[in-house]
Every structure is written in C-alpha cells, then in structure tokens.
Amino acid sequence: MKIKINTKEYEAKDGETIFVACMKNGIKVPTLCGTKNSHEGVCRICVVENNGRLITSCNTKVCEGMKIVTESENVAKARKINLELLWADHAGKCSSCKKNQRCELQNLAIEQKIENFHFVPRKEEMTDRENLDLLKDNRSRVVVDEGNACLTRTTELCVECRRCINVCPTKELSFNNRAGDTVVGTAFEKPLDCIFCGQCVKNCPTGAITDKNDLSKIMTDLNDLKKMAVALVDPAVLESVAFEHPEISCLPAGRDSRGKLISVLKELGFEKVFDLGFGMELSLEKMTQVVKTSAKNNLMLSHCSSFNLFIKKYHPQFAKNILAVAHPDELMAEFLKTEFAKKEKINPEDLVVVSLSSCIAKKKEKGQNLDYVITVRELGRMIRQKNLKLQDIKESDFSSGLAVKDEKIKSVTRTGGMAEMLAKKLKVKYVVADGVPQIKNILRDLEKGRIETKIIEAMVCEEGCINGGGQSRKI
C-alpha cells in the first residue's frame, strides 16, 4: 500500500508499523522503549502526526491513505514535554554515571534540545533494611541491587521503559507498585538471582542496569609494574567493538577491528594480548575426551555460562548431564598460569588474566584462574577514562606464543558451532537449542524421553555470543 510520510509517498507493507516504515525509508523517529521484538508504546516519544492527530508510530500499523508527519510543532512539543517528564523522574547525575556519553536518554535530551526543566528530580534513597517497607509504603524509593557478581541495578536512574522486562528470557524482572511509584524490580525486591544473560544490561537505555565491575582494581593491576597483565580477546566481540568505537574499525567499516583493538588494549596497559581461539581449542579437546569416554547419552556442552546457570536454577534434574569442562576463558587462563608461566619464568601470582568477553555470566562463573571479565561496554569506559585518542591508533598483531591452529574454531561463538565440530570429530548425533524458548522445548522433550542423542548444545543468547549480553547494543 502507499502511504505519505512528510512530503513523499512511500510503499509500505501490510501489517508493518509506521515506525518500521519510517526506518526502512531512512526517516528517523526517536524512541526510548522499543526493542527489536517489542514495541509497547510506553515512552510516547515516537509520536508522529496522522491527519492532525498524534499517534505513537511504534505500535500503530500502517493503513492505506495515511498522511504521516514526523516533525511538526505538535510532535516536537509532545516529545519535549514527555522527555522532560521522564528526565525529572531520572536522577540526572550524568557526570558520575557509568553510561555517560552512551546514554540514550541523554542523547535524546541533547537531540530534542531540552534546556530548561520545569521539574525537580524526585527519587529518594532507600537502604536495604527498608525493603519490606517498600511494599507497604507508597512513596517512591530507590532500590539498589548489588547482590550478584554480574550486574548492578539502581532504580534511581530507571525511566521505566520496560526494555529489560521485555527482553528478559526468564522473566525475572517486572514492575512493582503502581502509578508514579512504579519501579522495575524482582519479586518482593529480593536480590536478583537469574541466569545473567545480560540482555537487560545491553538494552537498558540509561545507567539503571550496568555491568558490575572491578574497573578500579583492574586499573590498579594494570598500573602495577610488578604484575603482568594479559588480555584475552573473544572473537565474538570484534564486530561489536567496531560498532561501539567506529574509529577503531578498519575499512571497509566494521569488517574487522582486530588489529587496532590489540593496539588499544596494549595502550591501556596490557602487556600481552591473546586470541581466545586458543582457549576454544583447549575446550574442544577436553570436551572431545570427555564425550569419547562417557557412556552416557544426552550430554550437555558447558561453554555457555548462562546455560549452566539456567540448568542449575530451573532444571537441576539435568545438572548431571552437563559436561564438567570449564569455559574456554578459564581453560586458557589456567594454561597461562601453569605452562605459559613456567615457560616464560613468571610467577603465576603476578599474572593478571583479563578476558574481553561478550558475556556477563562469565563474571559469575569465572573460576579461580581467570581474574577479571570485562565487556565491550566496560572496555569503552576504560578508553574514555584514559582519554585514548583512537584516531591515531596503528594496527598490531596478537602476542606470539599461543597461536590458534585453525581459524575455523571461531565458529564456536555461534550457536551449534561446538556441537558441529565435536560431531564431525566423533561421528555422533547432536541437537542444538538456540535461545531460551528452544531450550525449554528441548528440556521438555528430554523429560518425556522424546530425544535420544549424544550431545546437546544450547546457547541462551539467540544466535550465540554475537548477540551476547556483554555486547554493544545495535539499533
């Protein structure tokens, strides 16, 4: 069908929303609450005008004869007032915020030229002891949840956009209270204890849900002359890093940022930078051994940390099916601290292994050899903190010593990659589950005895680590 957007006529498909139609034709409509799969129409910022009436573009489907105006006086007014109301609900402590310069709310405020505010921020501090009162009391309070190793949640910065609720595959988060007191939270405000896939962190437009990190500790270790800092680079992050920092991607844009990324890491103070592919090969080797020697069927591969947590938390009856092989980062760290340290004559205690990963669950499941796990976003913060000038960075190569034998190993970052390789090697059957809904189906089938195979590979993030929770958010 044909619809008119601003001055031109465009072709639009039946059933698609105005928002999608605009995006497809390169017309930008700002939004705060939409994610890839859900458009709830909550933030009311994507409003457009249709025949003089304001409607939200994200959840209104196109109709024949629509005349959409994406920028008008009323549209600008609506966006501005709603944004101002939202901003007042937000603490606005930008300079000390982890998301500073990467905050969608901040960017929108700049874009819409919000200069003077009518309202005063209104959130009050809440301490842990008052948790119970929160349910009784209707005043709006701030809930800070730091009771886990992976992420920090603070409702002070939350703008109730629901992205985290919509993307959460296990529905751990929801709304508490109502009206102006609405806050995102867990049931009874218990500390979050989920599978830490990190999708909420990735999608949060503000700094309400952020990576829990030890950046200050890492910085101290990096500056410690006695210690030797080693960075492991997960091949899955390369594209995402380029997206987060367009300056370090090589041309053509976004193809590969490896060379410059290595230089950046060295600039940050890492003495050696290795490819995690080596760890993946270790992991594949170990898994081959275990699978070969095991007489059992339905063995579950263990390289997705979120999946391990998922089984432990929701389906403990399958815990015995999981292979007792640590994830590649941990295996590689172990190798570094034993054989590599011996060869290079370094005291293992002086070796600091940091993994640049696409996953936040690894922070919880990191094991004793791996010291820190940082995500793409945290790397960005380190770069900003150090004020690195990325434009002038030259390319360099991985440190020698731990070369990857076969580049094909890198397909394990994609769902099914590891199982495919194992199956090829051992000539066994396998089943792959991509994302939590598929995992649930497979577990149901397993329970009923409808599946009988040698290995099962499951990844919590859809398509694998490329969409991991530690990656930069692509719009």
Binding site: E40, G41, V42, C43, R44, I45, V47, L54, T56, N59, N74, K77, A78, I81, N82, E84, L85, L86, A88, D89, H118, F119, R122, N138, V159, E160, S174, F175, N177, R178, A179, G180, D181, T182
Partner: protein, 414 residues
C-alpha cells in the same frame, strides 16, 4: 417526586437479596426461561439491538453491536465478563445493584453469556467490595441449585459456569483490556487495540465485557421486548440510567431516571434540591474524570451522545456549593489519579504525579511561574499523548476548573 420508570430498581428494597425465592417471586429468571424455551440467541440479540441499549460504564458503546461481534466469531471458546470494578470516587451504582437485587444481575449475565456462546462467565468485582462478593457468591450458589447455572440449564443444551473474580482494587482495571490482563494474572494495565477484546480478549479468545448496569437491563429487554425499551429515555439514548447524586443536596443517593433527564431536574426533583442555605456553584458529572457544569448549563440533557458537551460517564454527579474549597478539590482529584494511574506510559505516570505535586503547592499558595507553565504543558500532553483514556480523564476536571475558576485557583485579586 416525579413519576418513575423503573427497570433496574423495580425490586429494590422489596426483596431479600440473599433469597433467590424472593427474586423469583418478584419475576426474576422469567426472562431466562423465556430466552431458553422461546428464543434463539440470534433473536435475543435482535431484541437487544432494537432496544438501543448502550454501555453504562462510561463510553456508551452500543451493547448489541458488541455482543454481535462476539457472537459472529468462530471458535468454541468464548468468554463473557461482567465489569463490576466501579472505582470512581462517588460512584456506587453497580454496588447498589448487587446490594439490592443480585439475581437480576446474574440473570442478565447468564442470558448475555448464552447469546454470545460463552461457556464461562466472570464477574470481575473490585476486591474492596467484600460484602458484595459474599452476596454474589451466595446468589451464584442458589442459582446453581436451581439449575440456572451449570450443565444443561433448565433442561436445555446450554452449559454455563459463572466465576466471581476479585481484583485487587484498581481504577484502571475498569478499562476492559486492563481488566482482562488482571484476570489473566498480569499487571492491570491497558493493552493496545486493535486487536479488540471482541476478537482477541481473555486468554486470546473472543470476549464480551459489559458493565454491571448494562447487564442488569437485559432481563427487562428480553421480557418486554427491545421496542418497548427504545421508547423510554431520549431520542439519542434509550432506557433509564442510575444516577448518583452526591454533595450539597438534601437527599443524596442512587436514582433511576430516564436518559435525557435534565441535570437541573435531577438535582431538584430527585435529590431534593440544594441543602438549606447553600448556593449552587458547579456540578461535576461523571465522577472524578467528569467535566464541570456551571449554572447556565444545568438545563442540558444527560444522555449518551458522542457530541454531547457533558459526557455522562458513569453517572456520578457531585454537586458543589460556593463554600467549597477549589484547591482541596483539585488536590483530591489529583491524589486519586496519581494513585490510580497504572504507571505504563510516561505522560500519565509522571504527569499525574507532577500535577498532584503542583496541586499541593496550589493549596499552600506557593505556586511559581514555572508551575503555571508546567500545568499547561502537562494538561496538553495528558490530553494528546497518553496510552489509554485515563490520562485524558485526569486532565478533564483540572483543565475545566482552570479555565472556569482561574481567579480563585491562582488567588488573583481581579
């Protein structure tokens, strides 16, 4: 007093609401018998369409059309929901129906469910109405014992279960998609339409949601015919309506009056006029979300009409005299909406909060230039960009008060 036309209140205070035999003696369940033995669902629907009955919850959507679109839907599983959430401050008509004649309501529910082809009906009651829930439970049990509910009702092929569902007591759950969310076990928040509940409602099945007062009209229509019902009331909207008159009147309470009754008549003839020594200032028609009516508009007819200057809403009328404190009223409206907004969309969640804040400052007389500009902006965004009508409702009374009593509100000398 005026000559009364009684449809809903005909048995009030004549029967014991806890005794089904009383109700049957007073003519209860005759319409159900007539429907089962002498009518088909299509025929009964025709009568309802003829009657011109429209929804009494506030929006005034024609009931016949709503039922028809559910009846038309294919698929065996359908639901009927009677909306008894009634949470508007000053509205207690639906509650009064249950208090006085629960069986009339139940009969209406059964007939409507069978018309649309539902095998399960819900009565969604505001959880605060403990007394009414008990009455309804008793009524359902008694009706089941008489085989008005259950398998093969009165020896026919119809089956129906009626369940009473107590909500948690939220204003927004009176909105049908929020109500459906609530029964499904989700947060009580409105959903985007389309799809409409008549196609994809409760648990994704076609669902008809009717206000309790609407339902209570059905037995009379089935018994006496739609044509006769259409002769009652005004040209534009047929039937009678329960009006609740509160405030500075001599005789506040629930009154059944034909639609099209003038507001002045309602106050003077039904509610006994103003209290001694009180002077009429304005009336708010339709509960907290209603518009303000000044003296010169008292002659307007109260009816369901899309173009009407005064939307009737739920029929709650608050009469305010000149000694009332407008600041206190503003604050009470805004406290209500601040509390009852579901928190889904930004303008309503934040806007009602800010208006409440400003209303507090208005009461203390500490208003600043900034607030005056903010009020305008918030009212505008509430009117134009909210997800559901609650946002608009929140702005109605405040906006009306502001345009009519600016001098008093801002404490301007002249």
């Amino acid at each position: 007093m005026v000559k009364e036309t009684k449809i809903i209140t005909k048995n009030w205070s004549q029967i014991d609401p806890n005794e089904i035999d009383d109700a049957i003696e007073a003519g209860g369940y005759r319409a159900l018998e007539k429907f089962i033995h002498k009518m088909t669902p299509a025929l009964a629907l025709e009568e309802i369409k003829l009657s011109g009955l429209c929804g009494r919850g506030g929006a005034g959507f024609p009931t016949g059309i709503k039922l028809e679109s559910v009846q038309k839907e294919k698929g065996k599983e359908k639901y009927f929901i009677c909306n008894l959430d009634e949470s508007e401050p000053g509205a207690y008509k639906d509650r009064s129906i249950v208090d006085s004649d629960p069986h009339m309501l139940l009969e209406g529910i059964i007939i409507e469910s069978l018309i649309v082809g539902a095998r399960k009906a819900f009565i969604y009651v505001n959880g605060n109405y403990q007394k009414q829930i008990e009455i309804l439970q008793r009524a359902v049990e008694q009706a089941r014992a008489k085989n008005f509910i259950g398998e093969q009702i009165l020896g026919s092929k119809y089956n129906l279960e009626v369940e009473i569902f107590a909500g948690a007591g939220a204003y927004i759950c009176g909105e049908e998609t929020a109500l459906i969310n609530s029964i499904e076990g989700n947060r009580g928040e409105p959903k985007a339409r389309p799809p409409f509940p008549t196609q994809c409602g409760l648990f994704g099945k076609p669902t008809a949601v009717n206000n309790a007062e609407t339902v209570a009209n059905i037995p009379w229509i089935i018994s006496n015919g739609g044509k006769k019902f259409a002769t009652i009331g005004s040209k534009k909207s047929a039937g009678t309506k329960l009006f609740i008159v509160n405030g500075c009147v001599k005789n506040p309470g629930v009154f059944e009056a034909p639609l099209g009754t003038k507001l002045a008549d309602l106050i003077e003839k039904y509610a006994g006029g103003m209290q001694n020594g009180k002077n009429f200032w304005f009336a708010q028609v339709g509960g907290s979300s209603g518009r303000l009516v000044l003296e010169n508009d008292l002659v307007r007819k109260l009816e369901y009409d899309r173009e009407a200057k005064i939307p009737l809403g739920s029929g709650a009328i608050l009469v305010v005299d000149k000694t009332a404190d407008i600041h206190e009223l503003l604050l009470s409206w805004m406290s209500f909406f601040r509390r009852e907004s579901c928190g889904k969309c930004v303008p309503c969640r934040e806007g009602t909060y800010r208006l409440w804040e400003i209303a507090k400052r208005l009461q203390d007389g500490e208003i600043s230039e900034r607030d005056v500009a903010a009020i305008k902006d918030i009212l505008w965004t509430l009117n134009n960009t909210t997800f559901c009508p609650l946002g608009k409702f929140a702005a109605t009374a405040f906006g009306d008060a502001l345009s009519n009593f600016q001098k008093e509100i801002y404490r301007l000398s002249k």
